[in-house]
Symmetry: C2
């Protein structure tokens, strides 16, 4: 019995199934933890088998596996000994370390009213329609559909999307020019990578113009990929194109249909000016589906397909967890982007693409959008009503579209401090200064998509308590 | 009627639904194609409505939308005129251009027996189990599960995978240290990006040792991301670790469980030597599930978790189209990799992660693997039988595991030419020279997973016809 003390096992302890794996694990642990040191000789297979009440074949097999792993070595006559491989650092679980601020923020237990912008109503996700579509897809998909596919995405989805985007956004494209991507985040990553490669070839500058205020997440992402976001101010007509022209830069990233976070729609005059500007336009059409007063303005890409890289996703229309979007780039940039997509992940997962194609083709997606749009209007109206009642001195902007609005406050205020105090009261909002690089008036960005009307009224009430004290005295 | 000739529309042509969009499209096309030039004045809304038999509100709305797009501008008294925005290049569909050789090759109509390595039996994909799991997931997933998640992946899947990899591969990890990725391709992209960043910080060299022969796709991918793959020869014990040490490099990428493409398992002596080598080991465990003679050797990571970055996927066990894999890196590299994953796509899609977690937890995945393994053995045996009969002079290697084997031929031969002639005969295989940078004996890599036994016998027959002529005369 002495012989097997090192194993911390005893006769009869073996499980009914998986005995070999159990013995291998025990031996490996004994070696890893130093109970069996380098050079130690193991018991003969027959002896250990007897001690543990196992068949000898199990022990032979276990020794062989550990020999294959290099932990044991066997020489004829010398028996089986532990090699010098042991004493490697052993794995220990560790707590998650705090990370730098990364949007979206993780959920916080003290927050019961999360008005972070950018999160849609996840309870509206069409689970039944999705499952029906999945059943249809699994019944009809070919084997080849499940193999390594075209890095641009499944051709059925590309065809459906090209038609959908032409009808709803005026986008000029064909199935061959569209790249299915893992959301706008990946579209921007691919654009950044190919832009940087071009910059390295041409010794150009790494600066890219972005809106200010504008999405902080987007800005951080461009910086990760080696580009330098240069802020260009936004006013109540959208991007200041005159200021863009004055920068001398060659690329701009913007959200013309519904500026994030101000909610402004790019005015016709600015649109004309931007289309006359000679650079590359990256159009993030992040929530164009959610326009309430009229059909959305067509995409910029519709007017200048050879100078606009157009991107969008289902993150705001279905759920961010889908990680499914599209990128339509000017002809000359297409091949480099497909190469970058291929090198990133070979292409998007097959089944979700086929399911989304099915939802587009059968009209389920359009029906879902109509339902959600009606619901969003009610939520927006509830929040507006609550703000008028409880925060009457706030100016409300960007209400004609989208899933969030912006309030600005008269007089000086530290919006980060206000957001901190609101969070103490259980309400999470984004201070607009998180999304600014330039100076500008303080404000709070309020997402209303994820909460029902009564919860939005409650949020407005709490905002009144905290922001009321901010009124100029 | 003259007034609306430019529209190429006529009274009564309007569809029953979507009249406004129809008119907007027609006007936009007329502007885009120059039928309405810059400066042209449009008919008064009342006149056009009358001509087309529409309500005036439709025309007003259409003009307004195009004004919003910047294509029209309206001044009081002057009517509505076309702006100078027109004359942008219009979109034209174009044929797909030929691309550089990129593995896997696209399907070819002349090939009826595709023995490309790396494609599993897609007909075995567990469609029914997948749909059952999806139903369960859609019934139980929380709304938060569908939102922006942890960039490392859904915690439920990370937990299941950590347990599964510990049991089946000896991998030492916890749910917090595992990153869910879009297949091994993305794992390598993330590793390459972070390695390159480190190299730029430390002015190190960009060379990474790779196996030769070794996966060409992997080599191309490293090169895309700015690393330079340096070939280290493989012999019948696997990677020549002495030659690796002689390179002086600090990183190696290899396939120890089943070397691609030779099928060799890294020998215990080499394994010991490699674990004594001080550099970073990237372990691509691409098809460890498919070992036939005994349980697979544990992962290298099991012996040196602080020096091995371990990656694998479901591409060979379920289907490549899943784009679902994992990456477990040494502690010190974890945070940079999570940041790179976040910047690449924010994280993997939610539903497939939850479904795979469900299949792991309920044992469906394990059952599927057992079924597939039995089937693969029969296919391998059929191919071996056919080769013995029809290509008796070929030497066959790498038969104990995996989804492919390697044949080498006596005497000099141009394997690329042989593969070309086989493809003319409807059989696609990979010449091993596609996967080599160094000189080495000619050979053909034959994947057998995707074809039933009778088709494999037929492939062997055709190989006999083509390769028979290669016999030394």
């Amino acid at each position: 019995v002495d012989q097997i003390d090192f194993l911390e096992l005893h006769r009869g302890a073996a499980p009914a199934k998986g005995v070999t794996a159990w013995l291998v694990d025990a031996l490996r642990a004994a070696i890893g933890e130093g109970r069996l040191a380098a050079g130690a000789r193991l018991p003969a297979t027959r002896a250990l088998a007897g001690d543990l009440g196992l068949s000898r074949g199990v022990v032979v097999e276990a020794y062989q596996r550990l020999t294959d792993e290099g932990l044991l070595s066997g020489r004829t006559g010398a028996g089986t000994v532990v090699t010098g491989l042991a004493a490697q650092p052993q794995y220990q679980s560790r707590p998650r370390e705090p990370s730098a601020m990364r949007l979206p923020l993780p959920p916080s237990p003290g927050v019961d009213l999360d008005l972070s912008p950018g999160v849609p109503d996840l309870s509206a996700f069409p689970r039944a329609a999705w499952l029906r579509a999945e059943r249809a897809v699994l019944a009809t998909a070919t084997n080849a559909d499940l193999g390594y596919g075209d890095p641009r995405g499944n051709p059925r989805l590309r065809g459906e999307l090209a038609g959908w985007l032409a009808r709803t956004r005026g986008v000029q494209t064909g199935a061959d020019d569209l790249i299915v991507v893992s959301g706008v985040a990946q579209a921007l990553a691919l654009l950044a990578q190919t832009l940087l490669a071009q910059i390295l070839r041409t010794h150009g500058g790494t600066e890219v113009a972005v809106e200010d205020p504008g999405s902080r997440g987007t800005r951080d992402e461009l910086a990760h990929w080696g580009l330098r976001p240069v802020p260009v101010p936004v006013d109540d007509e959208g991007l200041r194109v005159d200021r863009l022209a004055a920068t001398g830069l060659e690329t701009v990233l913007l959200t013309p249909a519904h500026q994030f976070p101000t909610g402004v729609v790019l005015s016709p005059a600015r649109r004309r000016a931007l289309l006359a500007w000679p650079g590359l336009i990256i159009e993030d059409d992040y929530d164009a589906e959610h326009r309430y007063d009229r059909a959305p303005v067509a995409a910029l890409q519709a007017s200048a397909p050879d100078r606009v890289a157009y991107t969008g996703s289902v993150s705001k229309s279905l759920a961010p967890g889908m990680r499914l979007g599209w990128l339509i780039a000017p002809r000359a940039r297409h091949a480099d982007l497909v190469t970058a997509k291929h090198a990133s992940d070979l292409g998007n997962p097959a089944l979700p693409q086929l399911i989304f194609a099915h939802l587009l083709a059968g009209g389920d997606y359009e029906r879902h959008l109509r339902t959600v749009r009606r619901r969003q209007v009610r939520r927006r109206d509830a929040l507006l009503h609550g703000l008028r009642e409880h925060v009457p001195h706030a100016r409300v902007e960007g209400v004609a579209a989208g899933l969030h609005l912006l309030i600005t406050l008269p007089g000086p205020a530290d919006d980060t401090e206000l957001a901190r105090r609101l969070e103490q009261d259980g309400v999470r909002v984004h201070p607009i200064s998180w999304h600014r690089q330039l100076d500008g008036p303080p404000g709070l960005v309020l997402g209303y998509a994820a909460l029902p009307p009564d919860r939005l009224l409650e949020a407005a009430r709490r905002m009144g308590r905290v922001l009321g004290a901010q009124r100029p005295r």
